[in-house]
């Protein structure tokens, strides 16, 4: 009950913040570009030649999952904890009758609420893009194909689970540093490192480096090891959250 109360407070605090707009704009980016590409006769038309409806959702997931979703996670995990620093409100939070554990978990759950909203909004925007494509290009026969919802749901679930470790680490960094630039820069550098490890060096360490995990649901070469990596991601999540909480409880976040 106390956690729900704290979560409600966090949801109210994030009202009208950049993180909500970032969620909606970030999730619409790929569907919009995809739609433009198809309507202007771009290269994506070839990819839609076989099983067009499911291929459209797969293409959308790949592009969002590799680039926009990780960047969104890095940004939102930094932006939301900054609300307290920017408004100088930590002291009011800690002077209110709630446990530090509730505050910490509520903040993490609120971020996860936005992560899930991002993934859901992405699917909605993809569906809208497909509908517009169907009206504009009936020759693609998009809505006459069977839709594999189970595959879409499983892929979306895997995208979420494999990003949890990064989410927990970035959340810790976002709480740790008063300066917004530090956690964002660390996140970007580690994300680029992860992409290079997976795509350029193809090292076996990708199974243990959280910033590579988001590629596993999307890459046919990495997919066989996805279940193990999903568990590793869950383990890292608990580890980073535990360490983050110990640090959060110990540190003096007020200016007093």
């Amino acid at each position: 009950m106390k956690l729900l109360t704290a979560l409600r407070a966090e949801r109210l605090k994030s009202k009208r913040t950049a993180s909500v707009y970032l969620t909606l704009i970030g999730s619409a980016f790929v569907p919009f570009l995809f739609l433009l590409n198809v309507l202007t006769g771009g290269s994506d038309l070839k990819a839609l030649a076989k099983d067009p409806l499911n291929s459209a959702f797969e293409l959308g997931a790949e592009r969002t999952g590799v680039l926009f979703f990780p960047l969104f996670v890095i940004l939102v995990c930094t932006l939301l904890p900054q609300i307290e620093y920017r408004n100088n409100t930590w002291k009011q939070v800690f002077a209110s009758p709630q446990a530090k554990a509730s505050v910490f978990l509520a903040k993490f759950l609120n971020i996860n609420r936005l992560l899930l909203l991002f993934l859901l909004a992405h699917l909605v925007f993809m569906a809208v893009a497909v509908l517009v494509m169907h009206v504009a290009r009936p020759d693609l026969h998009l809505l006459e194909q069977p839709f594999d919802f189970g595959r879409v749901a499983l892929r979306t679930g895997n995208m979420y689970v494999t990003m949890l470790a990064v989410c927990a680490l970035q959340f810790w960094l976002g709480l740790r540093f008063r300066n917004f630039v530090v956690p964002t820069a660390v996140g970007f550098v580690l994300w680029v490192t992860g992409m290079m490890m997976a795509l350029e060096f193809r090292t076996a360490l990708v199974d243990y480096f959280p910033y590579c995990f988001h590629l596993f649901p999307l890459s046919p070469q990495l997919q066989p090891r996805l279940p193990q990596v999903a568990w590793t991601s869950a383990g890292y999540t608990f580890l980073f959250l535990g360490l983050g909480f110990l640090d959060f409880r110990r540190r003096r976040l007020t200016s007093a």
């Binding site: 109210l12 009202k15 100088n88 009011q92 800690f94 009758p97 200016s255 007093a256």
Partner: protein, 304 residues
């Protein structure tokens, strides 16, 4: 009035770094139903003390009891009965006044109607969709007070609440503090670095300087302390003979004459009569009563 103090600290000490002792041995006693003025110059340890009372800083040495309960064993239950404003207002700039209060409403278990009540108390009932970052400093301060009042607290802790307020705002704040104490029975602990600002509303005073309590008691007690500090400055034809004659008044001879303690005007007249009666001419007879402001300065600089 209940004799059990609402706040009792015993030997409270704190240091931010190893070589700087910010508080030492603070024994704060705040009576239930009182308005306690916590006075001291900037950097004397007021905010640190209040932060310790609210659990914003971890207690390093000493004990804190509030409502007769140990703070660290009953933190949440105690904080649910306290409203606070520490230093600058803690508000979410992107939210309206009502939304700022709504963030904490459920945490304190307050009703929706309570939001309207506290906004009306501080005169911010008509701010509508205006977000807090567009408020003037005075409005922000009033909204922060509304937030402190949200839980209908038994104890209100206000740290320098008149910072940034214009003279009219300070008078309004003073009236509000008195009203909350009188009509709602709230015990109020209010800190300030200006004695004149709070002496018109407090019933008790604590004076802190360099992390140590210099005085603690009722305002009447402080006035008594003030009278004890009153001195009569004399210059006579024979200061040494006058010193011997006025031995019972604890005279002190200085380069500028003689200084003796006195309590009232009758004593001044009696001293004059005794000197002239013994053939000592009196050239100067100047009673110097230390006002509270001077006393505050004396108390906070005597040990510097």
């Amino acid at each position: 009035m209940d004799q059990q103090p609402l706040i009792r600290t015993t030997g409270l000490s704190y240091r931010y770094s190893r070589d700087v002792q910010t508080l030492s041995g603070i024994n704060l006693h705040v009576e239930r139903g009182s308005i306690y003025g916590f006075l001291g110059p900037n950097g004397s340890g007021k905010t640190t003390t209040l932060s310790l009372l609210l659990g914003l800083l971890n207690n390093q040495a000493g004990d804190i009891e509030i409502f007769g309960q140990h703070l660290h064993r009953n933190r949440e239950a105690i904080l649910g009965r306290i409203g606070s404003l520490i230093e600058t207002p803690s508000l979410y700039g992107h939210l309206t006044a009502r939304e700022n209060l709504e963030v904490y409403r459920s945490t304190y278990g307050a009703s929706k109607a309570r939001i309207d009540e506290v906004l009306d108390i501080v005169g911010l009932g008509d701010t509508g969709r205006k977000v807090a970052k567009k408020f003037s400093l005075g409005m922000k301060q009033r909204l922060a007070i509304a937030l402190a009042l949200l839980p209908a607290p038994e104890l209100l802790i206000l740290d320098e609440p008149s910072n940034g307020l214009d003279p009219a705002g300070i008078i309004e704040l003073r009236a509000l503090v008195k009203k909350l104490n009188r009509e709602h029975g709230m015990t109020i602990l209010i800190s300030s670095h200006l004695l004149g600002e709070i002496e018109k509303m407090v019933s008790h005073v604590g004076i802190i300087y360099k992390g140590k309590m210099q005085f603690q008691g009722t305002l009447a007690g402080l006035h008594g302390f003030q009278r004890q500090g009153a001195r009569l400055h004399l210059r006579t034809s024979d200061n040494e003979a006058a010193r011997l004659l006025l031995g019972e008044y604890a005279p002190r001879v200085g380069a500028d004459g003689l200084h003796v303690a006195f309590e009232n005007n009758a004593q001044v007249a009696a001293i004059n009569r005794r000197l002239t009666g013994q053939g000592i001419d009196v050239f100067l007879l100047h009673p110097k009563e230390s006002d509270l402001e001077q006393l505050f300065i004396d108390l906070t600089t005597a040990h510097a």
